[in-house]
Symmetry: none
DNA sequence: GATGAATGAGCCTTCATTCAT
DNA sequence: TATGAATGAAGGCTCATTCAT
C-alpha cells in the first residue's frame, strides 16, 4: 500500500488524544494508540517520527497559534498610546481574552493536553511560557504607565509573576474543570474585574477594596 | 538484632527526592535511586514496601500535616463570630497563612514533590484537595457574611472555585519558583490584599478599583 | 509486511518444551527459553502473549483434541444399546483406547507436559478432568447395565473414582515412563483385561479371580 | 535470646506445611512462612539450613518410616514359604496395607506434601520409589510362584510397573481426595480384590472376568 | 508508505540466602 | 541463637523504536 490511507491519520490523532489524556504523555503507549486506531506502530513512526512527534503534531498548531494570539494581544495593547492604556484596558483586554477563550474552546482537547498531559514533552512549560510573556508585558506596562501612580516599589517582577501565574491558572481552570464556554466567559470576565481591582489596590496603596 | 545501616535511609530518601523531582513519579526509576544511594533495590523494598511506598514515606507526613494545619485554619476562622469575621479576616487569616508558609519552607522538597512530581500517586490531587477545602469554607463564609453585601448572585461555587484555584496556585508558585521565604511572605501578603480587593469588588458591585 | 522469522517459532516451542519439562511450568524461565531459541523475550511476548500463553500454545490443541476424542469415545459407547454394552465392551472400548494411544504418541511431548509440567497453569487438572469424565460415564454405565449383576452397593462413586484414577494413571504411565508405542499398546491391552476382571469381580461378588 | 523458643519450631513447621501445600515447594516463600510463624527467616536458616532443609524436616521422618514399613512388609511376605504365598496373600497383604493406611492417615499432611507438593525437592520421586520397590518384589514373587501358573510371558517388568503405578496411585488417591479413613480402608480393600482379580486373570490366561 | 515482529533495555518486584548485631 | 535488613540475581513483562518485507 503506497498511499496514506484516508482518515487513518485523523483516527490516530483522535486515539492519541484519548490515550495521552487518560495516562499522560509518559505513561501513554504507542502500541495502544496504534491498535485503537487500527494502524501499526510503524505507521505512526513514518507519519510522526516518534512518540514526541505524535504529541507535537497534535498540540503544536494550537500551542503556536495560542502563543501568537497571545503575543499579538499583548503587543497591540502595548502599542496604544501610553495615556490611553489605562482607559482602554478594560474593554480592549477583555476583547482579546474573549477571543482567546473562543480559541481555547475550539481546541478544547489540545488545551487539556497542554495543561495536564504534557509532562515529559517540549510543552511541559507551556503555561509557564505564557505566564512569562504576560509578565514581561505587564512589567513594561507598569514601567510605562505605572510610574505616575506607583507610590512604592511593590510591583517587582517576582510579584507580578506570582499574580500572573494565579490569574492564568484561574483562566485555564475553566478548561481543566470542563466548564461550558458561556459560564467560562462569565467567570473570566469576573476574574478580570477581580484582578483589576487587586492590581489597582496595590498600585494605589492597597485600600481601595475596603471603602467601596 | 539486624539493624538498618545508618544513614542509608536518609540517603535513599534524598536520592529519591532528587529522582522524583527530576523525572516525576512515573518516570523515576527505583534502580537509579538505589544506585545513587549505594543500596540495592531489595533494600528499598524492605524499607518502603514498593515504589509508591517510598514516595509516600517522603511526602505523607508533610501532606497530612499540611491538610490538618489548613483545615484547622479554616475552622478556626469559621468559628469566629460572623460579625467579627469581616474585621478579623485580614490579621487572622494572614497569621494562619504565614504559619503555613513557614511550614512549607520547612518542608520545601516535599512540597515541590506534592506540587510537581506526584502524578500517578495517591497525592496527585493534593492541590485540588486543598482548593476544595478552601472553596467549601469560602462558600460558608459568603453565606454567613455575604448576604448583607452581595448585590447579585455572582458568587457561584464555580466562580469561587476558579478564584481559589488561582489564589492557591499563586501561593504555591513561591515554592515552584524557588523564591526565598522572606520574599515569599512579602508577596503572599500582597497577594492576599490583592485578592481581598478583588473579592470585595465583586461582592460590592465591582467599581472599587477604578476610583482609587 | 513484517514476517515472523522462519523457524524461530518452532525453535521457541522446542526450547520451551525442553525447559518446561526440565523445570516445570513455574520454575521455567522465559529468558532461558528465549536465549536457547536465539530470540528475545520480547519476541515471545509478541508471539504468545505471556508465559502461560506460550505453554498453552504448545499444549492446548492437544489437550482440546484429547478431551474431544475421549468424550466422543465415552458417548459412542454409552449410545450402544444397553444389552449390547457388555458384549461390545471389549472390542469397542479397546478400539477407542488404541486410537487414543496413537494420538498420545503422536503428541508425546505435549502429553508429558500435560502430565508432569502443568502445575501452575490452566491445565494442572488435566488428568483429573479426564478422570471425572470417565467416572461420570462409568457411573451411568453401571446404572444402565449394573443393576442386573450387582449384588450389593459396593460401586459408589467414590470407589469408581479411585479405580478410574488408578486406571488412567496406569495408562498415562506409558508416556511418563517413555515406553515405545508397541509395548504401550500391548500393556494397555493387558491393563484393560486386568481392569475388566477386577471390575467384574466386584460386580459379581468378588470371587471370580480365584477359581479361574 | 539464646535458646530456641518453645513451640516456635512447631509453629514454623505448621505454617510451612500450609504454605507448601497451598503453593507447592517451588512457589512457596520462606518469608511468608516466617511471618506466619512469627519468626524470622534467619531463624529458619539456623534451624533448618535452607528451604529444602525445612521441607525435608517435615517430610523425611514420615517418608523414611513409610519406606521402611513398606519394605519390611514386602520382605516379610517374601520370606514366607513360596508354597504358602498364594494362600497367605490376601490376609497377609491386607494386614500390611491397613497398617500402612493407618500410618498415612496419622501423617496426613506429610503425605499430601509428598504426593502433591514435593516437585523440586529430593522427594519428588517418592511415589515412584515406592512403586519401584513394589515392582521389584512383585517380580520376585512372580518368579518364585508364577512359573507354575504363567502360560506365557505377559508379566514383564514393564507391565508390572504400569499396574503397580496404577494401584499405588489408586491407594494414594484416598489421601489426595481427602476421604475419611474408614471409607479409605473399605475402598482400598475393594481395590485390593480388584487388583487381585486382574492379576490372576493375567497369570491364568485372562478369562476369569467374563464367566463370573 | 504500511506493516508488525523483533529487539533489548528497562521496569517493578520477589526471592533464598547471608551476616552484623 | 534469633533477628531482619541487605543483597543481588532473577523473574515476568512492557516499551519505544527499528527494519525487512
Amino acid at each position: 500500500m503506497a498511499k496514506q490511507i484516508e482518515g487513518v491519520l485523523e483516527e490516530v490523532v483522535e486515539c492519541a488524544k484519548k490515550e495521552f489524556l487518560e495516562k499522560g504523555y509518559t505513561a501513554a503507549s504507542l502500541r495502544t494508540i496504534a491498535a485503537a486506531a487500527h494502524t501499526s506502530t510503524g505507521s505512526i513512526y513514518t507519519r510522526f517520527g516518534d512518540k514526541e512527534g505524535l504529541f507535537r503534531a497534535i498540540v503544536k498548531p494550537v500551542a503556536d497559534e495560542m502563543m501568537q494570539i497571545f503575543t499579538k494581544m499583548q503587543e497591540d495593547f502595548h502599542n496604544i498610546d501610553a495615556k490611553d492604556q489605562l482607559e482602554e484596558m478594560d474593554s480592549y483586554s477583555m476583547d482579546g481574552i474573549m477571543k482567546m477563550i473562543d480559541y481555547m474552546y475550539a481546541h478544547f482537547d489540545e488545551f487539556k493536553l497542554l495543561l495536564d498531559a504534557s509532562h515529559g514533552t517540549l510543552y511541559q512549560n507551556f503555561v509557564d511560557d505564557l505566564v512569562d510573556i504576560e509578565v514581561r508585558y505587564t512589567y513594561i506596562y507598569i514601567q510605562t504607565v505605572g510610574i505616575r501612580i506607583t507610590r512604592d516599589e511593590k510591583m517587582t517582577e517576582g510579584f507580578i509573576h506570582m499574580v500572573v501565574t494565579a490569574y492564568v491558572n484561574g483562566v485555564f481552570e475553566v478548561i481543566r474543570h470542563g466548564m461550558d464556554i458561556d459560564t467560562a466567559k462569565e467567570y473570566i470576565n469576573m476574574l478580570f474585574a477581580y484582578n483589576q481591582a487587586g492590581f489597582n489596590t496595590l498600585l494605589s496603596g492597597g485600600e481601595s477594596g475596603k471603602e467601596a
